[in-house]
Symmetry: C2
Amino acid sequence: MFKLNSCLILYTIRNTIMSNIELNDKKIQILEVAEKLFSEKGFDGTSIRDISKMAKINIAMVSYYFGSKERLLEALILYKTSDLKLQIESLLHENLEPLDKVNKLVEIYINRINCNRGIYRILHFELTSKKREENLAAFAELKKGNLKSLETIIREGQSKGIFRTDVVIPLITPTILGTFFHFHMNKPFFQELLHLNTETLYNDYIKNSLTKHIQQTIKALLVYEN
Amino acid sequence: MFKLNSCLILYTIRNTIMSNIELNDKKIQILEVAEKLFSEKGFDGTSIRDISKMAKINIAMVSYYFGSKERLLEALILYKTSDLKLQIESLLHENLEPLDKVNKLVEIYINRINCNRGIYRILHFELTSKKREENLAAFAELKKGNLKSLETIIREGQSKGIFRTDVVIPLITPTILGTFFHFHMNKPFFQELLHLNTETLYNDYIKNSLTKHIQQTIKALLVYEN
DNA sequence: GTTTAATTTAAACACTTGTTTAGTTTTTGT
DNA sequence: ACAAAAACTAAACAAGTGTTTAAATTAAAC
């Protein structure tokens, strides 16, 4: 069975897809470095010189390839989110019980974001507070589409009489993603608290305990009977 | 009854407490402006000139009063989090059923953070990713203390046979706070989605629907029976 | 009222920022 | 092989960064 513990597979697929459109190896190299640094030091906290240094290229290459730092970010967003929509939508048509679909949705989300921590942190938390909304129209569309998919799954469960009907569906995504993000954003705190000394232990905890906790939470929220 | 829809009361109390220690009006003015700008544009995205301009003071005054930009941030954190611990701990000794305590804890958290959005966004999401951990030891202690309080409440409910015992307690806070933060960090998205056109509508939605959703979630998670 | 201390200021400091320019090297097409 | 295009580079640009300095103003103390 295809287990979700590899970030590498999707990564390779994406590179293949994207490179057919417009990205060459150098651009990808820049994007990868940019993601790493943006996620570590924030967008404003990362300079083009930092990026070019780590990517071992000339400073001018970023402007040459992407035009500006802002447009580098836009390219990064596109690069990293282009195939999530497909992944979610294909889940819709799988032959699974509603609850299993929800569980798998959680699994996809967590694995997905866990493999692309940097860019999702920027997307969800750094950019929304600023006046960069106009640049992120495509991302808003992605969110809307994913919400529609979730709604379809839940409505299915509701019509089958499995899920309760007094749930505010748009607030479920915040619970799923918010729980993960809050955990991960406070990584040092939880690493100490839960004795997750190594990176492996930390990642395993996310893949197992945290994912299970979120699935348990959503299940309790959806299936709970008064 | 004391309703939680006022951010002003706590704000006034805090100012009174803090000013007795070391803060004068000018310092407070700088801190308030700093919080506003940090929360809008991020720590790195805000310059001391921005702050001094909006606070209508000379640039040198920030260094004069706080020493540096980093230490201004530290002062801001202390200024804004000093009384949350007391508020949570006093809840522990109230004569309430465990579930009501949990619900009130959620209410306190959401109101509290909602009234201090800026600083909490910085604390939870901007600073944790960088190497600023050493500056935030006090904040980590606050988090630990609050977790202990939550644990006390839940253990109480468990020993009374009301709460299930297979819950990972440290993961409950991420669910509570993460849900709120994810909602608020994607404010423009949810404002459009849920037609919360005005600031009042948005705030009311947080105070009512979102708080209820989180309480419902935690209740389902704690009380759910197989 | 004078002196001492605290506050406030404008200017300068050295440094980093994103971007552009003008020139060089490399690759590509014929 | 040669010309055109693309890739790449070092240097410079103007603007902005956090911080410091030294002088001016205000407040406090005696």
